[in-house]
């Protein structure tokens, strides 16, 4: 029997990191643990490898690369890489997928439509690598219909040949024609608002807080930094909202049915400075964040979406969870210096409090 290359999220866990990539493995882990994650399936790196091997893709890429010469450390050669990238992506996207693979993807998608009760359910096709390459590969949102799903899976694969990826590989002396990644096919959440949250205050490492950012529309607005999001700081223990900064959010990232593309749409003046989350959503998100952190055992960086069509709290979805990269890695050293209560009291009694009076 051929090696399994496609999985439902619920079949996955962190142990599948190397097979389907971290993102899908984590989403699977979250799904299994009972968190609310948009249903979907994952193509493992094996799918990429099969496609490359079983079609003429690898041969054609290698043939093309024979004539390609450029120095990745030389900025002037960037244009050469860009041309090569465009050409290689064209090659990959023009090749037809092995029929049994295509059939399988169509089957999974049909099943997903059935499960969600929607015809041609909107999905996002996202790259998912075993190693983290944030922002390196492409993600395609609002993909609908089996043909489009198949086409966009292939587009995600081909995004391993976008300019920044091949330059990155060239600099590391890695083969340019081959960089297996997984693809996540997730149902889209019709997001009225979305954002990220950290289970630690990123400003000072205070692990008793959850820091949230949110903006109208889809989460890409916050992740990309294109919109100044609303910010919240919530106490993990008391669930009090300690800080609440409502920003002028300018635009929202939404789907334009006419162009069938995602786009930034300017917000009307009366909506720009409205909070995009309700307080109860903020508190619920905090509770969820705490549980995610407890499940993975270290501070988390979590992406969430809030559906406009579902009722609270079913409206809240997690679309990503990964270890927080700054404070999570810091070694926890004693801040109190092994002092006893009595020593702390003595210290307090002998230390005057400074007042600024200039």
């Amino acid at each position: 029997m051929a090696e399994k290359w496609i999985y439902w999220l619920r079949e996955l866990g962190t142990e599948h990191n190397n097979i389907v990539g971290k993102k899908c493995a984590n989403l699977g882990e979250l799904t299994k643990a009972g968190f609310h994650v948009p249903p979907g399936f994952a193509l493992g790196v094996g799918a990429y490898e099969r496609f490359m091997k079983e079609t003429e893709a690898s041969d054609r890429l290698l043939a093309y690369l024979k004539t390609f010469k450029a120095d990745a450390h030389n900025v002037e050669d960037t244009m050469k890489f860009e041309a090569a990238g465009t050409e290689m992506r064209k090659i990959v996207e023009s090749i037809k997928m092995p029929p049994d693979m295509e059939e399988t993807i169509r089957d999974y998608y049909a099943q997903l439509c059935k499960e969600t009760g929607k015809k041609d359910v909107f999905v996002a096709t996202r790259s998912a690598g075993p190693a983290s390459h944030p922002g390196q590969y492409e993600t395609y949102l609002n993909v609908s219909g089996p043909d489009e799903v198949v086409r966009n899976v292939q587009r995600v694969w081909s995004s391993t040949f976008n300019t920044r990826s091949i330059i990155a590989r060239a600099r590391l002396d890695l083969p340019l024609h081959h960089d297996p990644i997984g693809v996540a096919v997730l149902t889209m959440v019709d997001a009225k608002a979305a954002g990220v949250m950290f289970t630690v205050n990123p400003v000072n490492g205070d692990e008793s807080k959850v820091a949230l950012e949110a903006s109208f529309g889809f989460g890409e607005a916050v992740v990309s930094g294109n919109v100044t999001p609303d910010r919240y700081l919530v106490d993990k223990v008391t669930y009090e909202i300690d800080e609440k900064v409502i920003s002028d959010k300018g635009a929202e990232f939404v789907y334009n049915p006419a162009t069938r593309e995602m786009e930034y749409k300017e917000l009307p003046p009366d909506r720009r400075k409205l909070p995009c989350l309700e307080d109860r959503e903020v508190i619920e998100l905090t509770k969820i964040a705490k549980k995610v952190e407890a499940h993975f055992g270290c501070p988390q960086d979590i992406e969430y979406s809030i559906s406009r069509s579902l009722e609270f709290p079913e409206s809240i979805f997690l679309v990503q969870a990964r270890p927080e990269s700054v404070w999570g890695k810091k070694k926890k050293e004693s801040v109190l210096g092994k002092k006893t209560g009595w020593q702390l009291l003595f210290e307090k009694a002998t230390t005057p409090i400074k007042l600024k009076t200039d």
Binding site: N201, N204, G205, D206, E207, S208, K209, L233, D235, K236, V237, T238, E240, I241, D242, K332, E333, S334, V335, L336, G337, K338, K339, T340, G341, W342, L344, L345, F346, E347, K348, A349, T350, T351, P352, I353, K354, L355, K356, T357
Partner: protein, 619 residues
């Protein structure tokens, strides 16, 4: 402001009070006033108005508590437990308001000596607190009983009764009783205040230590959360209210009683009616049984004679009983749930503790928490016994002297005794005793005393209408005196906030106040500014309470209001504790709320940030 200022607040030596207050200095002993002979020392200090203990102009005899705490609080820091760099708190009176300052640190060699004593004496208290508290309690009860038992004549006998002459002569008369009782009551109130501070300085110090510890572990932890962690639920301060709840339930089981309690008549009439029926008598008997001590609770702060206590103003507890009975009839729960308060506290402590990453830190945290928990309840328990129970006795006994003086026309009315300071009252008493001793027809100086009283009453009235400056002198660069930080909340922020408030005279211009974020949440609504508890009847459901400070007898108000703002008080002040328990937002220690906000203004308070905004001024 025309006064020349040193630093940013006026120099107390150049400061002039309004001329309507002329003659105010005469009311207080000279050591309590700013003076040229001490100017050099006084100028080095920062004097801020003590709105906790003296939010109102001080009647000369009410000033006795202040005198007493100046000694008691200070000595425990400087001479008893010896908090190394801290000294006492000095007081001065300006225009009938009291200003206080933490005294500058002692020389380094003294700090060293104190550190040694601190290390020896303080651990003993923490290790033995429960035993020490029992001892404290017993002695305090005795003191109260002694004050109750003082012999103060209600009138002078025409002739000394036979049994005092023979067979065993008493040897002295009512004249001596009168003079002696006053001397004794002065001595007792001073002693009570010595006891008051026996463990308070250390309780506050422990609290501040725990705040620091928690902040090091969790930089963003709210002081309101820390307050929840350390506060005790079953403290004496809450007992009066609990007794009211119990009496209300008892009344519910006897429908004739609850019917009477719900009536819109005075407490006196209700009591009379209750006496007419068997269930009523039984209920009254139960009330009488617990009245001492649990109705010995001031209707105000306990610091002013005119505030009264529940026992002297029975309309107050009876109005609470009425609303409790009505709520019980609607099926509402009236009691605070002690279990859920302690469970919530345990949950918060456990969850924060679980967030601590290193084993060493968790150990230090536990240790620090145990230190503060071992003693902290003192901060809550002493308050009932001293400011409420004992002060209630004191006011009643002082009124006995006042009654006698008024009876013989030395004074116009009994409460005029408060217009004379504790050094002067013996003069009045001696005057009266002399006149009695001299025989028939010997005059007192009643006219002189009465004129003095009238003049002083006018001065105090003028002082009430004066918006006293929040501070005088030079703000300090550092503070190590625990009360200054904890009780009066003196921080960089409060000082600068006062400076802001000092610039705008009175209400009208300042639209945002900053205080302690004492109980989380946001509330908006019409303000009700309450200076005296008697005005409590005016409070409407959904209003935001604005008061100088609150105390246990105000507790039932918290079931009506949407939020609370006070002038004075930190995170463990009464308003803060009760608000947290009722889940109401509160901002305490704003310094200027009662002078800036007017009843009817729409205010918005954010108990998480400590900001109070006046959204709309009342017309």
């Amino acid at each position: 402001m025309t006064n020349k200022s040193v630093g940013r607040f006026p120099d107390p030596h150049d400061f002039k009070v309004p001329k309507e207050l002329e003659g105010w200095e005469d009311m207080y002993p000279p050591q309590r006033l700013f003076s040229q002979d001490r100017a050099e020392w006084e100028k080095r200090h920062f004097w801020f108005q003590d709105k906790i203990h003296a939010p109102e102009p001080l009647y000369p005899l009410d000033d006795i508590f202040q005198e007493a705490w100046q000694i008691a609080l200070s000595q425990y820091t400087t001479r008893v437990f010896c908090i190394p760099p801290a000294q006492g708190i000095a007081q001065r009176i300006v225009g009938c308001y009291m200003y206080i300052t933490p005294v500058e640190p002692p020389p380094p060699e003294v700090i060293g000596k104190k550190a040694e004593l601190f290390g020896k004496r303080v651990p003993y208290v923490f290790q033995n607190y429960n035993k020490l508290w029992e001892h404290w309690y017993d002695r305090f009860q005795e003191l109260g009983k002694e004050m109750e038992a003082l012999k103060i004549p209600s009138e002078f006998d025409e002739f000394v009764p036979e049994h005092e002459v023979m067979p065993i002569p008493k040897g002295y008369t009512q004249a001596q009783d009168l003079i002696e009782s006053f001397n004794t009551i002065i001595s007792l109130i001073f002693k009570a205040w010595q006891f008051h501070f026996q463990y308070l300085n250390l309780a506050y110090l422990a609290y501040l230590m725990f705040v620091d510890t928690a902040r090091k572990l969790f930089p963003g932890i709210k002081e309101s959360t820390i307050g929840k962690m350390v506060a005790g639920a079953d403290v004496s301060m809450f007992r009066p209210e609990e007794e009211l709840c119990r009496l209300s339930r008892l009344a519910m089981s006897q429908s004739p009683v609850s019917k009477v309690l719900k009536k819109d008549v005075s407490a006196a009439e209700k009591i009379k009616e209750l006496q007419g029926s068997e269930p009523g008598r039984m209920w009254l008997e139960e009330m009488e049984r617990i009245k001492n001590p649990w109705f010995y609770v001031s209707c105000g702060s306990g610091w002013y004679h005119y505030e009264g206590s529940w026992v002297t103003k029975m309309d107050v507890p009876f109005s609470y009983l009425k609303s409790y009975v009505e709520r019980l009839e609607k099926g509402e729960k009236i009691e605070r749930s002690l279990t859920s308060i302690s469970e919530e506290r345990d949950r918060i402590v456990a969850e924060y503790r679980a967030l601590i990453k290193s084993d060493d830190d968790r150990k230090s945290f536990d240790d620090a928490f145990n230190v503060v928990r071992s003693i902290y309840r003192y901060a809550e328990d002493h308050l009932f016994w001293v400011e409420h129970w004992l002060h209630t006795i004191w006011f009643r006994r002082i009124r006995d002297f006042g009654n006698l003086l008024a009876k013989y026309n030395v004074l116009k009315q009994p409460d005029d005794i408060y217009l004379f300071n504790r050094f002067e009252v013996p003069m009045l008493l001696e005057d009266l005793a002399t006149s009695w001793a001299l025989g028939v027809g010997a005059p007192t100086r009643g006219k002189y005393w009465q004129e003095k009283a009238a003049k002083r009453e006018k001065i105090l009235e003028a002082a009430r209408n004066w918006h006293a400056v929040p501070a005088l002198g030079v703000p300090p660069t550092e503070v190590s005196e625990p009360f200054t930080v904890m009780l009066w909340g003196i921080t960089t922020e409060t000082v600068s906030e006062w400076l802001k408030g000092a610039d705008v005279k009175g209400a009208g211009e300042l639209n945002e106040l900053k205080g302690f974020a004492s109980s989380a949440g946001i509330a908006e609504g019409p303000a009700r500014v309450l200076k005296l508890l008697e005005d409590i009847v005016k409070i409407q459901p959904g209003e935001i309470l604005v008061a100088p400070c609150t105390n246990p007898s105000w507790a039932p108000v918290f079931t009506k209001i949407k939020g609370a703002v006070t002038d004075i008080g930190g995170l463990t002040s009464h308003a803060a504790i009760v608000s947290r328990e009722y889940g109401l937002p509160a901002v305490t220690g704003t310094g200027v709320a009662t002078s800036t906000i007017k009843t009817g203004d729409i205010v918005r308070l954010d108990g998480s940030t400590g900001i109070v905004t006046i959204v709309k001024r009342a017309k």
